[in-house]
Symmetry: D2
Subunit: 419 residues, 4 copies
């Protein structure tokens, strides 16, 4: 099996960890058991560009169980768990091209390696396969039937492409499933981002002033957890409705130029570029800590920004880089501005990825069943599939809920019953 991983000897540890995560992924497990029998993905080549984690491994296992052949590269140079990559190759028949800490050239060569296998379906986390296939690798476009996309960031890019009329094949926006973004983006990102920051710094969150940049689902999730750890939270936003929500949730809302002066910790969740800029770094207090939880590290103005203005750099601790500024102060950037939850911790807990990846697996099945009618746009997974995932998840958590009585069904569909 073709692959490029760090060290196949890590496979045993990786397998243990994959099976540990599997214990918390009962929905995906249920799908895998059905796939094993029904083989709905028989003979389908799937190219995936995802964070190489234990949860992703269980998704890959599921695709393979359904009859697919799967090739995987990393969606970020720092997020690969080398033991997992090794185990996928060694134990689970997945071809993997990913090494933690790989440089940019290797990163893109791995993306190319995936495309070289002529996938019929692409599976993206940040739209790198799609971008490459629409750029330098237009040779692979022909055989691609459809793709899926996991992130808010990626969906924004893909909608731009669809709007410009350049999207060459249909995409399922897995991110937009309720059982994905309500949970993964909120509870997953919330916990894992805080986890990454604490592992990187061991800083006390209680009593610190935390600036949350962007109050979308991910920012909300993190603000909730930072508050739950005793932080005093400040939110910055560009959207007035979200800004109002942040205010009414009890947070201070201000422009970044003001927040920069008072924050102890800054974390970005915008999907946008340069939300913390040169002038903001210069306004920060001594010892301020800056991290990014968005898909790309462009959220921080590092190249052409902090890197240029700092007078010296050092690494006081793993995942922490110190930048001395001309004003005599030092600020710290975590994990080179790469997404902190995957770089310094293990990414989202399996419990929440269970639903996100159930959406991925069922999206692939759905694409195959509906390929004929799919336009070259960004599609949402049908609500029935979405709700079904929620229903299975509840069951596996041992939680029963009410069902509508006949009288209630009638009432809700009727407009005649009065006050």
């Amino acid at each position: 099996m073709n692959h490029d991983v760090k060290n196949l000897n890590l496979a045993s540890r990786g397998k243990d960890r994959i099976l540990w995560a599997d214990r918390s992924m009962p929905v995906l497990d249920k799908i895998r058991r059905r796939f094993e029998i029904e083989k709905p993905l028989k003979g389908v080549r799937i190219g995936a560009c995802l964070h190489v984690t234990t949860e992703t491994a269980n998704l890959m296992r599921t695709l393979v169980a359904g009859g697919a052949s799967a090739v995987l590269c990393a969606s970020n140079p720092l997020s690969t768990q080398d033991d997992v990559a090794a185990s996928l190759v060694e134990d689970f028949d997945v071809s993997v091209f990913a090494v933690n800490g790989e440089d940019n050239n290797t990163y893109y060569s791995h993306v190319n390696a995936v495309l070289d296998t002529k996938p019929v379906i692409t599976m993206d986390d940040g739209a790198d396969l799609v971008s490459m296939a629409h750029g330098k690798r237009r040779d692979v476009l022909e055989q691609i039937v459809a793709g899926t996309e996991e992130t808010t960031t990626g969906v924004i890019r893909l909608k731009s492409m669809a709007k410009e009329g350049v999207l060459a094949y249909p995409i399922i926006a897995v991110n937009d499933a309720m059982t994905k973004h309500f949970f993964d983006n909120r509870y997953g990102t919330g916990q894992s981002t805080l986890d990454g920051i604490i592992r990187a710094t061991n800083m006390l969150i209680a009593g610190s002033t935390v600036v949350v940049v962007g109050y979308g689902w991910c920012g909300k999730g993190f603000a909730m957890r930072a508050k739950g750890h005793g932080a005093n939270v400040i939110v910055t936003e560009v959207d007035p409705v979200r800004a109002l929500e942040a205010l009414m949730d009890g947070f201070r809302v201000m422009v970044m130029a003001e927040a920069a002066k008072v924050g102890d910790l800054f974390v970005t969740f915008t999907g946008d570029k340069h939300v913390i800029r040169k002038e903001h770094f210069l306004a920060m207090k001594e010892g301020a800590v800056v991290a990014n939880s968005g898909h790309f590290n462009v959220e921080l103005e590092l190249e052409g920004g902090l890197y240029d203005i700092s007078t010296s750099r050092s690494k006081p601790r793993d995942f922490v880089e110190a930048f001395d500024l001309p004003n005599g102060r030092t600020v710290f950037v975590l994990a080179e501005g790469r997404l902190i939850n995957l770089a310094a911790a293990e990414g989202h807990p399996a419990m929440v990825m269970d639903m996100s990846f159930a959406n991925q697996a069922l999206s692939v099945e759905w694409i195959l069943l509906n390929r004929a009618g799919l336009s070259r746009k960004v599609h949402v997974i049908p609500e029935a599939i979405d709700r079904n995932i929620a229903r299975i998840k509840l069951e596996t958590m041992g939680c029963a809920i009410d069902t509508l009585t006949e009288e209630q069904v009638a009432y809700l569909s009727s407009w005649r019953e009065g006050t």
Copy 2:
């Protein structure tokens, strides 16, 4: 001016309270000032069926300032604030038909009195004007151009009508504006429902087990506040996605048959019928307290339910009715199951109704400008208006937010920039 109110002598106190609320409604105030100059509603007859509160009074003032004539009846027999009704008639040129505690016959005669004025636009909170106009009063349909609806409950009914093809004129679902349901349904309902329950009972929320029936925006708002007061919250739901959200928000989720046995306080927020039924009342603990915060009191099975099975009834305290059950236990129902925040307290704070009613006022203006193209469906207010309300609200709260740089605008609309 035609009217039916309790006592015009209450006007002075009502006016004071209306102006007190006005202090917290700066967005509506800004619209009123513009309306006074532009008179966009000149000559338009508006018939409104809304809770007669100080906040509604400020909406009526705004409509009149815009040149409209306004006639108002109550949207619930228990929610009318008689001093406000008096002041509207006496001080603000609004014709009001509403008396707190009016019986059902009077209630409907008041709805008829509004329709008798041949309104061009209807403004509903629970769809009673619309229902009457589509039922016994089809004579008024002809001259109605459009209507607005404030509540989730009403919107559900109206969508049923549109689906059945019987909706005779277009409706703007004010409820569906982000600046309405994100805030009014969540922070407004949350605070005012708890307020109503505490005023009615003076019970300690900390340490009590509170069952929240329905985890929509309103239920979420109340669950958040009950938790914030130290309650142990249980959620019941029929929707698996919402049930999962409740679980991940840290609440227990169970079927009502189980929750009934352990709750100290039950509050319904479903827009549905008979969500607490005979068998649930019989399962409750000694001293359980039951309230409804939904639009209609049908959420509790009282007629044909609790009223039938109880062996005796008494009123230990204003807004509290005790029901002795055959099993020897006593349960308490608040405010006859009518919406507790308006029956036992003053309804939502002005600060949040400011946005809801800004949507109402601007919806009316928008209807008049766009009447030609409006189909007989349920419409959402344009997002631009919605965001503008948020923007003004932020300004009046003294809160500035960031704006996208040119570079960011370009980045967000581009798909070419890579990792």
Copy 3:
């Protein structure tokens, strides 16, 4: 029976409300049943100066059940519930001297009326009986055996007296019982203070900046509830340890001179004098609301302060007074600065007063059993009584807890068992 109450015709409504509260006071009920049989207070004259509420009424009933004769005056001119006063006289054999809104002269004549009955035990909430007995009414000192005190404020005063050597009889600091101040001061004050403010103003707490003055048990309780309602909380303190706690609880801490500029709502909980002064009122934003939850309204500098600098005053709403300032701004003071939870709401919920008043009742019994050995100091109720109250409370809430195994008892008292 000697008395001075508003109107005996209110007795029936008062009785209903007293019995409603009684449902939530099972510990006191249990004590009352034992007292009825054992009559441990037989023939003892008790003079009480307490807020005349439904909960106090149940305490009075318990004392009378134990064989005491009880005379009651109010501990604040605004906190008397006239229906409760009437019912105590009419239905429960308690002599009451209290009328809601009585002026200062009447207030003190009522305190004197209680002392005129030559009580053997005094029961205070703010130390007014003790102060009067040590001042103008030294004639009554001789027959007084001991007293009890309910509040932090009172205990501070009494400890000063003991320290100066002028305390003429022993006092039981009921406030210092764990089952009192952990619960009453925190959960009771927290809920009821917020309740009073919302009833007085109907203001939205979510999104508002709330300044909590003093972070003792009461301030902590209120900060918790304000946060739970979505406020952004600022704390001011003079004690560095408490200030640090507030910081680590996620609140901003600053000097009042700074907090004054940004608060929407200010509430005092200090037991101290003039914590919000002239200069602070002048620094406040347009529309700021100020309330006191401490025992005395001296916490706000009104006389000689706000009253002097304001250019005009008006009453826009019950319990709200507007003060126009020379700087063109208006600030609002609630309930004349009197303790807001009793003036504008009903005081602490019965559920929490149950424990506070169980301590009162058992303190009186304990005094009578231990009168011989009691020095003229401030005493704490024995821990065994305190824990017993907690134990009974848990039982009545249907809550079972673990007990130490023999092995555990041995382990905890041994130092020999190692790592």
Copy 4:
């Protein structure tokens, strides 16, 4: 310099991490600067048995700066950070005997090595030096002037010894300083325990049922953080007052026999023995996770309990051990039941240890100044020192607080000013 550490080559990394922690320990830094000048500990031999972390390293540096000679062993076999141990020897003149993962024999030989240096002051975290000196090493008792103790667990043991009259020298209970247990036990334990659990398992806390065993300061801190992460928290207790607090804080309270059936995660904070026993492990759900955050792992019945009843054991992941039970279920124990925050994470953040260790350093100074008058009991550090630490901490956090006016000082000490 005498020592036994893992590898001196780790010193460089250890030093970087020690200096990183130092950035968040400004109070200790301020004391160190004064000590460097005043040398108050000149010539004093200090023997310390503490967790060998970056924060402890900064305490050792401070003692050495004050003129002391310091010898350090670990207070737990699993908590030593080997790079820190190396750096202390190599860079900071501290003699260290500690290797992560050392067996019990080595552990005690290291304790003995410290006592061999004939310390004048002992510094304990769990009372191991004191115990050994009172047991097999009574030879060292003579020259010991006094000791300090960091933990609740240790203080309980030492008070037992004092009560039995066997305590041979005075102890300062650093744990009982307000600036220690209010912060370290609550915010420190809260964050670091959750951190340890997440690092060990990567489990999702949101939506899980977390059983907190013991609601003292540490248990409260953890319950707060677990709730802040979206858990549904259950508390078990033996103390009725604490149980009531837990209830009113919104948690469920029940006996362990019931909690065992429903928990997903169990964490112990009791200082007691066998609080989770054989029968509880057998009652747990499939996949339950169990950890201890108390000083000793005896809180879990492992030897003679879980170890005996399990049919097989395996290690699915670092710090996680799986136990298969005869009932077919598997439960997981983290870090062999050793204190999870130090075994699987880095212990408390420096920000909070700053105050705890400032108390340690100032206690040593205070012992030397007051050695003459110290009885053989457990003493509390004087309140003035305690408050001073708080004051410095606030300053270093840039936080100013109010001071009492003269009028206020007079008011608070007077009992004559009335209503």
